[in-house]
Symmetry: C2
Subunit: 339 residues, 2 copies
């Protein structure tokens, strides 16, 4: 028997707004992709979101029954209220009652979650977690910033007010560079796309990096991806930047492994495409700094082995759809943690 | 109606071995305190433990019904097997099947847990957690080393193999001093009694600390407690050591708060008696480094306020009995996490 349940998921980003209908046996039934009209204000964006949700409801709720609607939003986000708190990627949205606004407009309950948390949920349920047969993981999403999410027994660990999982602000280099969060030396300042570009600019400024300087000369708006492509050609300075990214990730992962002792840590986001460039230094630091890792490392040759007791640190399986899929999966789970 | 249930708890330490009978309405009914006969080998210690357990069983199981037996042991400990893995404080016990050995000797099931985890459980159920009305916390135990435990919804978070909660090995000063775990710059190397003594010796060696030098001259085996008493008299160098302890704790707590978003973080262990000496720098670092803390800090004047959304960072309520109490409480709970 095929279930006729479906959900609607929303991936609210600073650039794109995607809304999808999802069924467990079929995956994404339909995806609506819009631009996030930030310049027109949050009410305009909320109206776009509701219009798309209604369109999918009209189309699918005749033959299927709706399990629920999930929204993944940039944080910080107060849960379960679904209220935004000074979100750096949604300027002007501070205090916005996202959940209440959408519920009022649709006259239906909706679930709101942090975008990095729903991406982690998707990796757990339909990504690497499923592949390895485990139901708990921590995901690190390396994008413009570094987001994260913790899944315990198949459910998002929200903490007491929705702000758990901020792996991007683990301490790496205590007296290091200033971070957007107000602190110093956070993982985000060393392992994000923004950090890669900054490190490249610093190397160029020290006039020690001809390959990077040439890249900047040909393309002043070069990105982390450009730096990774340069590294793939063998450029030593570009390679050193990714070795430093891996080092920061290994230091952060050591804290995570010592603290959480989970079976799986997944590295996703655009920068995770550079896995082969940073994984060596990542594992060097992780082995050095985490005795829990050393006691639970069954060896790289068994990385797809889900034998109990093995700590897996692997690239994400799902691509840029992880956040949208996670929003769709959210109604099928319930938040574990309302402390 | 008064429940007639009771439990037996064991606090196995490198120096002392304590075994107690416990009832929820009365607390500790009776405590047997022994020396841990490490020199005679693990089988002798296990025999002492079983003999004391049998004595308490004989005495209390006529009028009460036994809920279970809980043992708190130094780690690392593989769970649920209850097998020791290279425990630094129990030399020669590597691979010892603690749980199986005791179960065989008693012909009864027993629960084995990490000692820092059971102390955290006690703080949650009958200590600061009860006082503040929350059921989740992270405890940091500052002793010879720095132990820790995470309690989620009233149950110990063990991780996949019993090794979760190792807050002593969070990254603080990445290129800092070597830690007993094999890494560098861990919290334990800056916020344990051992670390306080080392920092005092370093200050004396630099000939910058007349008060500490006088302490060492009068008592070459001075302890962290002696340093804290000197600090209480106003000695600037001794005070600076505790400011550094607080700084390390604040850096570690910032990572914890950003990651877990729990309502309560408890600082216990002998060194926590120096709370007033280190709390100022602790909160300075925590505020600086954790935006989750800043978003959830309702102010020090409300530190006993359990209003939802407040992050509490406070000294432990229970004293040295926390581990023994937690072992007694263990049978009343069940481990949340068998990933």
């Amino acid at each position: 028997m095929i279930s006729n349940a479906f959900t609607i998921g929303v991936d609210l980003g600073g650039t794109n707004l995607r809304i999808a209908a999802y069924a467990q046996e079929s995956g994404l039934l339909e995806t609506i992709q819009l631009s996030t009209r930030l310049a027109d204000g949050r009410d305009a964006v909320a109206a776009d979101m509701c219009q798309a949700i209604r369109r999918l409801l009209d189309r699918y709720s005749r033959e299927r029954s709706l399990t629920g609607i999930g929204i993944g939003s940039p944080g910080p986000l107060e849960l379960p209220a679904g209220r935004l708190r000074q979100p750096p990627n949604l300027p002007g949205w501070d205090g916005f009652e996202l959940r209440a606004t959408i519920e009022r407009a649709l006259d239906r309950p909706v679930l709101v979650e942090n975008d990095a948390n729903v991406a982690a949920l998707a990796e757990c349920i339909v990504g690497k977690g499923r592949t390895l047969g485990v139901d708990s993981l921590c995901m690190l999403t390396l994008g413009t910033g570094v987001g994260g999410g913790i899944i315990l027994h198949g459910k998002i660990w929200d903490g007491m007010s929705g702000m758990a999982g901020e792996v991007g602000h683990l301490n790496i280099w205590t007296d290091g560079v200033a971070c957007g969060c107000g602190g110093h030396g956070c993982l985000e300042a060393y392992a994000s796309a923004t950090a890669v570009r900054r490190m490249a600019e610093e190397m160029i400024a020290r006039e020690q990096a001809p390959g990077l300087a040439a890249l900047q000369a040909s393309n002043p708006r070069f990105t982390a991806r450009d730096v990774s492509e340069l590294a793939q050609t063998g450029d030593l300075h570009a390679r050193r930047i990714f070795a430093d990214v891996g080092r920061a990730l290994g230091i952060g992962l050591a804290s995570l492994v010592n603290l959480l002792n989970l079976p799986l840590y997944v590295v996703g986001g655009g920068l995770a495409n550079a896995w082969t460039l940073f994984s060596r230094s990542l594992f060097e630091e992780l082995r050095h700094r985490s005795y829990v890792y050393r006691l639970t490392d069954l060896g790289e040759d068994r990385v797809v082995d889900s034998s109990p007791g093995n700590t897996h640190v692997v690239p994400a399986q799902l691509g840029p759809d992880a956040g949208l899929l996670g929003a769709c999966l959210l109604p099928f789970t319930a938040a574990l943690s309302k402390v």
